[in-house]
Symmetry: C2
Subunit: 195 residues, 2 copies
Amino acid sequence: MIGYPNKKSLPIRHEVKDNYMGRGMSLEDDLNKSNEYYLETERALIHKKPIPVQIVRVDYPQRSSAKIVEAYYKTPSTTDYNGIYRGKAIDFEAKETKSKSSFPLKNIHPHQVKHLQRVLDHGGIGFVIIRFCTFDETYLIDAEYIIKHYFQKESKSIPYTDIKTNGHLIKQGYTPRLHYLDVVDQCYFKEEACE
Amino acid sequence: MIGYPNKKSLPIRHEVKDNYMGRGMSLEDDLNKSNEYYLETERALIHKKPIPVQIVRVDYPQRSSAKIVEAYYKTPSTTDYNGIYRGKAIDFEAKETKSKSSFPLKNIHPHQVKHLQRVLDHGGIGFVIIRFCTFDETYLIDAEYIIKHYFQKESKSIPYTDIKTNGHLIKQGYTPRLHYLDVVDQCYFKEEACE
């Protein structure tokens, strides 16, 4: 189970909006809207997976409704997004950071990196989308690049400049908010690989 | 949100084991074990998606732990299982019925049927796995067959005999418990389609 650190040790109750902890117009939000747009325009079939939760107790306050009264976050065993694009299985994780200098690798769970390796092994397209909030820049980085850095013991983060060089800047707009499939086209559906 | 009908109208508290409401060695359980086996033997990368839950309130009883104290089940917008097999995107729903005569189509949400149609449109492999508990028989039925029946207004269920004829019996064993990828091989990786 994931522990969410909190400054006070007494119980604190938080209201959760849309399963997302108040970060405004978040990367998750942008991706969900973009995926909706891609779905409606029949360009791709990509969904965010639900947050994995271990349900322990359920109440039935009314005949027709169930209320979960005890549940815990579980560590995700896969990435958050997957689906189908141009006949290929597509799978990715999305993370944002407030850092100006680098992307901290601890933001990604080891399980997720292992999962991305498996995606590649089984013939899927795998990548990570990273947003540097301060610069409002969002990059697509091929899974292989992330995997390589993740398992180098000495590297705890990937410098911003390296992501700028090795990743692919995603154009932002209104519909879709993130034109990330254009980058996928360019990286995975051309003769040259995404390097 | 999904309503789970209950006989009494006063609040009743249920303990939930493994997110599954006490049906013993369930189809879900068998599929999860089979998918684990397929994952370990590197044959396929298929996962069950987490149950979609709308999280409303979270407590932090300790500095390092989060406890969800109010959440509700959401209607799933996709099927439960997806992944990659032999380079292809694979997507399916699994249902069991105690009926001896037919599979009730109300067991599948309209969203899920629409999703399966999209899986086919985007070039994926889509199907439904149906278990007739009484006979301990589990069938793989191609998505097209299910979609066709689902949207026929007059049909509220698919007769067992039709599933026996048009579906494909999945061999059961120990590892994996359900040899369903053998049926996938036979149906989707041969020159003839799965009819």
